[in-house]
Every structure is written in C-alpha cells, then in structure tokens.
Amino acid sequence: MALTLKVNGKSHRVEAEPDTPLIYVLRNDLALNGARFGCGLAQCGSCTVLVDGKATLSCVTPVGGVTNAEVVTLEGLGSIDNPHPLQSAFIEEQAAQCGYCVPGMIMGALDLLKRNQKPSEQDVRAALAANLCRCGTHPRIIRAVLRAARAMEKAP
C-alpha cells in the first residue's frame, strides 16, 4: 500500500506493507545508507535513526507506525561538504575502523547531546552501551562525542 513518510525534512511516498521494518524502506526505497542492518533483532544499534527526536531502532520499527513522525537518518545531519559537528568530530578523531557501527553511534550520541549538552565520559559510555562496535574503536568514539559536545556548546 502507499505510505507517506517524512524523512530528513522531506516527504516521500513509498509502496510498502505497513509492517515492513522501517530500515528496509529507508535503505531500499529511499536509498539512504545511514541506517545499517546489523542484526534485525534490536541488539546492536547499527540501524539507529531518530524518530521525533528520539533514538529508535529502525530494524524493529514498522514503517506504518512512523507515517506521522519526523524521521532523521545520518544523512539528515550533514554532508561531506557541510558536516554536522558530530560528523566532523568523528573525522577529526579518526573514530572508525570498518565504520559500520558509526552511523548508529552518531545517532545515539545526537540523542544524548539533545538531553545533555555537557556529558561526562561516563555519560557517553552509558548512552552508547547498547551500540556494539566489533573493531574496538570505542575509545575514539568516546573522544569524538566529547569533542562534538564541546564544539556544539561553543557554536550552538
């Protein structure tokens, strides 16, 4: 059936069953890569997007449930030419190895920074506890989030 979705500020019409996991619509219909498939089981955080400002796992969120919501993916934050402070901080800290977990980390961090502009290292660790990284890039990810928090405080 035809559904209307608002993603990254734009309205999109897609043909999909309402129980389709949001991740497949974002990735396949809208060609957005930010939500990454890691488990499909709400266990790894790779597919995190914001739904009405809240970090949400798109692999277990039926698309039919978000047709009246604002969905934001990694692409909604910034671009290579005009990156969001979180994206800049991840580049500055070289906070990636394979990088597959990074979109979920950034979306989780964005959710944190909306609630807490001056997070401690412990706050960052706790906020990203459910986001798995297999390469062991965690220390750099923590540094990147703290760097972004400082940058966003200076230039809100």
């Binding site: 396949n28 488990c39 994206q87 394979c98 990074v102």
Partner: protein, 729 residues
C-alpha cells in the same frame, strides 16, 4: 594465511626475492633483480600504477580495505615514491579484472607485501618519468626534481606527470634497479594522514556491499539446515513461490534460497521455507564440557615446531600447566552480504571477500564455470577479522542470481546465518612444562592441540565455499592441514632446552578457519601466563624475569617502554581487587613487537573483571601511518579484551546455540579500558605487520593482572564470572 598463499601461488613470489649476503654483509652479485612482494610475479609496472592526464595516478593493489586503513597507507607509500600529494593517488583494490593477485588480505602482511611492491613500482615509474623529461628537455637527469607531480630543473618548472601521461610507457617490467626514497627524505610516509574512507562512512555515502542497489536488483535470502550436513527432505517451495514479491525459489540438493522483489518479502519467504522445511540426518556435535579432553586424546598429526637440546642441569624445579581456548566467532557487526549478476554466461560478483582471486577459483569450481567467465570485485563490508561468511554468501548470491539471468541479486545473510555458519576460530589446548634452576628457565616443553586455522577458499583439492557442500552434486572441502595453530607457539625467549610440538587434529566437529592472530592469540596467552607463573615461583619481578630470558634488543625495548609508560614497579600481590600484569610477543616471531600492561579491577561478589587501563608499547619497524597503527593496535586490544572476558561459541548436540548477540555477548562501551600507546619508530628498518599483533599480549596481560590481584590463576578462556568465582572460592 601466508603458507597457504605461498603454496597456492607458486614459488615465484619467493624466487625473485632471494638475496644472499657475503661474509662482509654486502649483497653479492645477483642473477635476478630483487623485486618486492608480488611485483616479482606481476612484473609489469602498469599492473601496479598508471599516470593519468588529469594529474592523478591510479595505483592497483590486490589487498583490500577491511577497516584497517590499508588503502590510505598504501596511497601514502605511492605518494612518497612518486613525489605526489596522497590526495592525487586513486586506489583500485581487489578486482580480478584490474588488480594484481596478491593472495589474501590476511596475516598482517599488506604493508609488508603490497606496500613493498607499490613502493618499488612507483619508485621505478618516477625514475622513468624524470628520465623522459630529461631527454625531452636535454637536462641532465641528476639535476631534475619532482614536487607534487611536477618536474623541476634548477629554478624552473619543466614538465608535469600529467603532460607525460599520454606518452609514458609503463608497460615494461620492473628492474629492481631503482632505489626507493630514503627514510630521511620521507614527507608523507610516517605522517598521520587521515583515512580516505572515513568522511564517506560518517556521512552515509555508499561504502559497503550492502549499499549497492543497481537498477533491477532483487533480494535474496538462504535457508540453512538446522545442523551441519543436514539433508533437505522437503520444503514448501510452491507455497513460497506464491508469496508476494517472490521471483524464484532455488533448490539445488540441500541448498535452499529465495529471490524476491523487495527485501522484506525475501525475509518473509525465507521464514516460510524455514518453517516448512524438513531435514534429515546431520552431524551430532560432541559434549562441549568434554571438548578439551577429546581434543588432546584425538588422533593427531604431530610436528615439532622448534627443538633445542641441552642436557638438563642436576637441580631444577619442574612446573606444568594447561591452558584452554574455546571456539570463538568473528562476529562481524554486519552479517555477510554479496551482490551477483549473471549475464551472457558471465558472472559478476561484488564481495567483501579477503581474497577475490581465491574466491573466483572456488566459485568457478562450484558453478562449473571457467574462471575467465567470472569477475569478482571487492567492496567493503563490516570488519571481518579473518575468514567469516564473506566468501560463502558470494556463492549463495551466484546460485540465486543464476536463477534470474540478467538481474542483479543481493543476498544479505541474517544474524543467525552468520553466527551459526561462519567458520570459527578453533578451540585449542596448550600444555607447558618447564624446569626452573634458580631464576632461570633451563628447559621448556610446549604442546598445542588444535584443528586447522586455514580453510579459506582457493585451496587445492576441494572447495571451501559453504553452499558447495550442499548441492545436489556436492563438493568436498579442501584439507586445511595443520595451518596456523603453531603461530607464536615457539617463544621468543631463549631457553637452553626447548621443544615445541603442534598436534594437528584433523577431525573438526565445528566449522573452523582463520580468525585474527590464528593460534597466536591462545599461544601467547599460554606462554605469557606461564612466564608469570614461573616468575612467581622464582620470586622474580615479571618484567625483569622476561628481560632475563630475552636477547632480542627490540623485544627488550618494547617491554621496557611499556613498563616505563605504566610506571611499573615490582610490587607485592594486589589487594585482591586490583592488579596489573604484562604480556609480550613478537607477532609470528617475525612481525611487530608488542608489550601490553593491563590494570584490572575485580568485583569479587559478582565475579566481573573490569580492565581499566592498558599501556602498550609497539615496534612495527618503519611507521607508515602512526595513527593507523594506533587504531589497529588499540582495536586489537579492545577486541582481545572482549575475547578474553566474554567470548565462547556455545553449542549443543544439534548445533550452535550462540545465534545472536544475546547468545554471544561482546564487550560493551562501558567496559572498554582506557588506552595509552607508545610507538617506537624505526624509520631505517622495514615496516612490520601490526594488525593482529596486540591480541595475544593483551589476553596474557589481563590474566596476569588477575593473578597479581588475587594470587589465583585463570587458565581457561574466557574469564567468565563463574570461573572467576570458582577461582576465588
């Protein structure tokens, strides 16, 4: 996978690089030029690089990006030798139609192999370009220099590479007669150049196989048996075919898969097939509780890895200990994925395989096609840390794409496909017996039992792609041999008497292959744990005890550097809650030297071990990219912390029980230690592989810190709360 690679690719790689030294230490006259890495085999310069009219150079490598930053580091090497900015280097990697075959991207060998080949090829290309310019302008070659691809005579610009691109002929063999830039002149090598792939990865650009969506693409899923070697009796293929969006249901023997227009439709059809399928037979797995005893008592092929006989002294105390490591999973963050397309009897495969040429050989075997009709192109996947499902899913995609000619099919394994079917790092048992005379180890006997650590595709005598074993005309896997278990089994320490034996057990109940560091993780854990046990028995400081048995100056230097960085003091036991320990190894006894000091805190009530702080010192020879090396070393330590504290593939009689992240927990953000890394740069020495070097030392350092804290020794991996509490009881 060095040994397999050499075997498969013939002796040519070794043949060209033989160099003999006279007694005076100067190279003797050689019949053949000395060519680095696979340049000895793929000798034409234009196989490795091209100069483009737009001011860029394209560099071709058989090694692939796995998240280790290799394409950035190789571009630095090329930029250095060509005297260009690294931004002007375009990297093409892992494409059977375009790049050299450099074996697998494995064994921490990419800088040592591909880096050396690219360094030499680019140095020769630069020489050719300068000489061309000199001839055209009638300038003496010696007076010309290059800055960012522009050739200068004293005080004036002459020609650029871009202007010479149309006429320069690089289709000529490397001579080995041009010296690469000396370390003292390096401008790009040794600098923390930023990774070229990270901006795309943090902004959602298409980066991975999963992001490929060519027009007309269909989605595939596969259905595996409930246990190894299960035979498919029946499945409701007609019912699946009738589901919305389903384009094809493919059954070939016991291989079962589905192709659908939309991804969620493929997932639903997979579920329908899975529920309706009836399987018979299949393997019974052994009792996990009796695994290690069974391994030691199994029939084995025994190889003496090293032996040094010195009559034991009269008075010595003898110590013995046994250490174990369970099956462990690569557990890539993304399940494996591939895209395949059949058109005009040709097959294209986009894959995150670590060896596209080897994959192509096994695809050809399984599909009964010629290799010339298949092209495999590397595209990144999630980090793999060794041989996971990447190659298998490529065959799955090809088998499904063959049912829908002309249409590209992307197959994404589900989470349980990856956990249940990837080849694991094998279980291992290490037994050590040593004689201590005073504070000196005078005799050392080491035995390791393991299945093979090498079952990658492309090996002779079989096919190592999963689906090929389940086809109506099934193929058999190749014989892995005793590969990998003895990695780092021989200690770098020098003992008067030593005997190291590898007991290769061919019978493997679970599917196994290469996982990061291979046997090196468990061997270093065992050796370095036992060194601490012996130091304690000798009432010696663990750092001093190691140094007393080591002559290698680089080894001593990293241990001393780590001890200094950590403020190591010879101290009494910890307070029962906190402790510190050291672990050291030179990876493969031939690559990087790494010493790790861990500080842990223990919750005695819960049995939780928390690694709080890690100090690491590393000597990787000449450093190409210091930040890249740190990222690899630190990532390895965090991964090893996860392996050491948490990881074990659980199985019962029917198969793997660990089929998701709840069944296979890994280290989480709050548990990750603080890390401090010291790099000892040796710009005058060859670069050494580093990607796998930190894992064994980290495991040992954590175990030794636990023993320091508590006086109790954990010899069985992982250090679960249950084991910790049992040790403290």
């Amino acid at each position: 996978m060095t040994q397999l690679t050499r075997r498969q690719f013939g002796a040519a790689a070794a043949g060209g690089i033989v160099i003999a030294f006279s007694l005076h230490g100067r190279p003797r006259a050689q019949r053949r030029p000395r060519l680095a890495g696979y340049l000895a085999q793929d000798r034409m310069l234009d196989a490795w690089l091209r100069i483009n009219p737009d001011g860029t150079a394209t560099v071709f490598t058989g090694k692939v990006e796995l998240g280790q930053g290799i394409l950035t580091a190789l571009a630095q090497i090329a930029a250095e030798e060509l005297s260009m900015q690294p931004e002007r280097i375009v990297m093409i990697s892992g494409d059977t139609a375009r790049t050299p075959d450099e074996g697998f991207t494995s064994g921490s060998r990419s800088i040592e192999d591909s880096g050396a080949a690219i360094r030499q090829a680019c140095a020769e290309a630069r020489d050719i370009l300068i000489r061309m310019a000199g001839e055209r302008l009638r300038w003496s070659f010696d007076e010309l220099s290059v800055q960012d691809g522009v050739i200068y005579a004293p005080g004036m610009r002459t020609l650029s590479y871009a202007e010479l691109a149309g006429t320069v002929d690089l289709h000529r063999p490397a001579t080995g007669k041009v010296a690469p830039a000396p370390a003292g002149a390096h401008r790009v090598v040794g600098k923390p150049v930023k990774r070229r792939d990270i901006p795309s990865k943090v902004t959602g650009q298409p980066c991975y196989v999963q992001d490929l969506r060519p027009p007309g693409m269909l989605h595939g899923r596969v259905v595996r048996p409930p246990r190894y070697h299960g035979i498919l009796a029946k499945a409701d293929t007609a019912g699946a075919k009738a589901l919305p969006g389903v384009v094809a249901v493919v059954r070939d023997g016991s291989f079962l898969g589905v192709v659908a227009a939309r991804e969620e439709q493929a997932v639903r059809a997979r579920e329908h097939l899975r529920r309706s399928a009836q399987w018979i037979g299949g393997d019974d797995l052994p009792d996990r509780g009796k695994l290690y005893g069974a391994l030691v008592n199994a029939e084995s092929e025994d190889t003496v890895v090293s032996e040094r006989k010195t009559p034991p002294p009269g008075i010595a105390r003898v110590f013995e200990a046994t250490y174990t490591k369970p099956y462990t999973a690569h557990a890539a963050l993304a399940p494996s994925c591939a895209l395949a397309q059949f058109a005009e009897n040709k097959l294209m495969v986009w894959t995150h395989s670590q060896g596209v040429f080897a994959l192509r050989r096994d695809l050809a075997g399984a599909l009964k096609m010629g290799v010339a009709a298949i092209r495999c192109i590397h595209v990144e996947g999630a980090g793999c840390y060794g041989h996971n499902g990447a190659d298998d899913v490529a065959l799955d995609a090809a088998l499904l794409a063959r049912a829908v000619p002309g249409r590209p099919v992307r197959v994404q394994w589900m989470r349980d496909d990856e956990f249940a079917w990837e080849p694991y790092g094998p279980a291992m048992v290490m037994k050590i017996k040593a004689s201590l005379a005073g504070r000196r180890i005078v005799d050392w006997s080491y035995d390791v039992w393991s299945n093979t650590h090498g079952m990658r595709p492309g090996a002779s005598g079989g096919n190592n792609l999963l689906a090929s074993w389940y086809l109506a005309q099934p193929l058999a896997p190749a014989h892995g041999g005793g590969f990998g278990a003895a990695r780092n089994a021989a200690p770098l320490y020098e003992f008067p008497g030593e005997r190291v034996t590898n007991h290769f057990v061919a019978a493997a109940p679970l599917r196994v292959s290469s996982l990061r560091a291979l046997g090196g993780y468990a061997n270093v854990f065992a050796i370095e744990s036992f060194m601490d046990e012996l130091a304690a028995a000798a009432n010696a400081d663990p750092v001093a005890f190691r140094l007393a048995h080591l002559k290698d100056r680089r080894a001593r230097a990293v241990i001393e550097a780590a001890a200094k960085a950590a403020g190591w003091r010879h101290g009494p036991k910890g307070d029962g809650m906190r402790g510190r320990g050291i672990g050291f190894a030179r990876y493969k006894n031939a690559a990087s030297y790494i010493a790790v000091i861990a500080e842990i805190a223990l919750d005695r009530a819960s049995g939780d071990v928390r690694v709080q702080q890690i100090h690491v010192a590393a000597d990787a020879g000449q450093i190409i990219n210091p930040d890249g090396i740190k990222n690899q070393i630190e990532g390895g330590i965090v991964q090893a912390t996860s392996w050491t504290l948490h990881e074990e593939v659980k199985f019962d009689a029917h198969g793997t029980v660990s089929r998701d992240w709840l069944g296979y927990p890994i280290l989480t953000m709050p548990e990750v230690p603080q890390l401090q890394t010291v790099l000892l740069d040796r710009p005058e020495l060859p670069p050494l592989g580093v990607g796998e070097a930190s894992l064994g030392p980290a495991a040992a350092a954590i175990g030794n810190a636990f023993a320091h804290a508590t006086g109790k020794r954990l010899r069985d991996l992982p250090f679960t709360p249950q084991r910790v509490k049992a040790a403290l009881a």
